[in-house]
C-alpha cells in the first residue's frame, strides 16, 4: 500500500504549523486546556463552593463535577481541533491558491484527509495530556479509568469526529466560509452534546437532535470508560451506535466533498 499522499500531507501540515504559526502552535495549544479546567473550577469552587444540584448526581451517577466537566471539555477540544484541521483543509487550499495544483496532482482524498486528521490527533493529544496534568491539582479523579476501554473509545470517537468534520468541510467549501459555519457548529455542539452538563437538562426536541450527532455518544463513551471504569464489553451497544452513525456522516461527507470540490473549482476566480 502506497501511503505517499498521507505522509506528504502530514509532513506539510506539521511544517505549516510550527514554521508559519509557531506562537499559536506552542502557546495557544497549551493554554486552551488550562482555561477549560480553570473556568469550570472557578464556578464550582468560588461561586457554589462545590454544592451540586441533587439531580446532577442522579443523572450522571457521580457527584464529581470537576472530573465530569474536564473530561467533557477535553473531548470537545478534540472535536473542535479535528473540525478546524480536517474541515478547513480544502478551503484553506482554495484561499492560498493551491487547490488547483492539488487537484491536478494524483490526489487521494481519503489519504489527504487522514493525513490532516493524524497531525491534528498528534498535536491535540499532546495538548490533552498537558491539560490532564494541569487538571490533577484541580481535583480530577481518574483512579477508576479503564485504559484499555478508553483507548478503544478514543479511536471510535476519532472516527465520529472525522465524520462530523467531513460534513462540515463540504459545507465550508460550498459556502466558502469557515468563520460562521465552524463557530455556529461549535457553539451548537457545546450546547447539545452534554459537554458541561447532562443532556437530560435540555428540552426533548434538542435531545432528539443531540442523539443524531455522534459526538454526544462519543463524549458519553469516553466519560464512562475514564470515570466509572466501565469495560468496553459493557459499552458495545454505544460503540456500534457511534460506528454506524459516523459511517453515515463519513459517506455523506465524502460524497458532498467531491461535489463541492467541483463547484469550488468552477467558481475559483469568483
Amino acid at each position: 500500500m502506497n501511503l505517499k499522499v498521507l505522509y506528504g500531507t502530514m509532513k506539510k501540515e506539521l511544517m505549516i504549523k510550527y514554521r508559519a504559526y509557531p506562537a499559536h502552535f506552542f502557546v495557544g495549544n497549551t493554554l486552551t486546556g488550562l482555561y477549560t479546567v480553570l473556568g469550570a473550577w472557578m464556578m464550582w469552587k468560588f461561586l457554589f463552593e462545590g454544592n451540586m444540584a441533587q439531580d446532577f448526581s442522579e443523572i450522571t451517577g457521580t457527584g464529581d463535577y470537576i472530573s465530569y466537566v474536564v473530561v467533557g471539555s477535553l473531548t470537545y477540544l478534540f472535536v473542535v481541533r479535528t473540525c478546524l484541521n480536517v474541515s478547513r483543509s480544502l478551503i484553506t487550499e482554495l484561499r492560498e491558491g493551491t487547490l488547483e495544483s492539488l487537484m491536478l496532482a494524483p490526489f487521494k482524498r481519503a489519504e489527504y484527509f487522514l493525513g490532516s486528521m493524524l497531525v491534528q490527533t498528534l498535536t491535540t493529544s499532546a495538548e490533552i495530556i498537558v491539560s490532564l496534568i494541569i487538571a490533577i491539582p484541580f481535583g480530577i479523579d481518574l483512579s477508576r479509568a479503564d485504559m484499555g476501554a478508553f483507548l478503544i473509545a478514543f479511536i471510535v470517537s476519532l472516527y465520529a469526529f472525522f465524520g462530523v468534520s467531513m460534513v462540515l468541510g463540504s459545507i465550508m467549501l460550498y459556502t466558502r466560509d469557515t468563520y460562521i459555519s465552524q463557530n455556529t457548529l461549535f457553539a451548537f455542539l457545546f450546547l447539545v452534546c452534554g459537554i458541561s452538563f447532562p443532556v437530560q437538562y435540555l428540552p426533548e426536541w434538542l435531545r432528539v437532535i443531540a442523539e443524531v450527532i455522534p459526538v454526544t455518544e462519543a463524549v458519553n463513551l469516553i466519560r464512562v470508560t475514564l470515570l466509572s471504569g466501565s469495560g468496553i464489553s459493557e459499552q458495545m451497544q454505544s460503540v456500534q451506535y457511534i460506528l454506524l452513525l459516523s459511517t453515515a456522516y463519513v459517506v455523506v461527507g465524502f460524497m458532498q466533498m467531491k461535489r463541492c470540490e467541483e463547484i469550488a473549482l468552477e467558481k475559483i476566480n469568483g
Binding site: G39, Y65, L191, F197
Partner: protein, 269 residues
Amino acid sequence: MRPFIKALAAEMIKQHKNYFHSKMIYVSLFVWPFLNFITTYYSFKVFDIGKSKIAYITAENMVVYLLLGYMCMSFFRSLVQSAWNFSFERISGTLELIYLSPVNRAAVLLGNAVSSLFESVFVMLIFSLLVIVMKVEVLIIKILPCITVFFIVTAMAVAWGMFLNSLFLFSRDSDFLFTILEEPMEIFSGVKVPTALFPLWAKAISIIFPLTYAIEAVRRVVLTGSSLYEIREFAVIGIGITVVLFALISVIIKRVESHMRITGNITLF
C-alpha cells in the same frame, strides 16, 4: 483633522460593507451569543443555585445576572473579532497598500474598531430587550447612571478594540493573542463568577481586563440601582483605562512602522 475624519469614515464604511455583505453576519450577531448564553444557563443548573455566595444570584434573577454578563462580553468580543478580521488585511495584501498611502494609521484602526461598534450596540439592544421581557421586576434602573455607564463602557470597548488591532499589526501569527486575551477575558472578567469572590491571584488578573469594570458597573446600575455618585470610582477607572490604551496605541503604531521599515516585508511576517 479633515484627512483624519475622511480616513476614519472611509475605513468604517469599508469594514461595515465587509461585515454586512452577507446576511450570515446576523448569525454571529444573534445566534452565537444566544447559543452561548443558553449553554451557560444550563451549565449553572448543575449547581445548587440556592447556595450561591452572592446575594443577588438567586434562581429568579440568575437569568438576568447571566444576560448582563453576556451582554457586556458580546460588546467587547465583537471588538476583539474586529481585530481578528483586521489580520485579513495582511493575508489579502491590503495592509501594504494602507501603509504605502499617507493615511493616518490611528484613523484606520479607529475606523475598524468603530465599525464593529455598530454591531455591538445592536447586540446590546437585543440583550437589553431580552432582560426587560424576561425579568423586568428584578431591575432597579436609574436613567442617568445607566447612560453614563453606557458611554464609558463604549469608550473603553473602542479603545480595547483599537489596542488589539494595533497588536495585530505586528505579526500574522497573532492568533495566539486570542488565546491569551479572549478566553481569560471570559473567565476572569466576572461574566459567570463575580470578581468579588475571586482569590487575590485571580483578582490580580481580572484588573487587566477593561471588561471587568464594565460588567461590574452595568450590574450595579441595573440590578442594585446605583447612583452616579456610587459609580464615580468606575467612571474614573473607565476614563483612565481609555486614556492609557490610547497612549499605548500611539506608541505601538510608531513601533510597528519602524519595525516594518527595518524588515521591509509586511506580507509574510
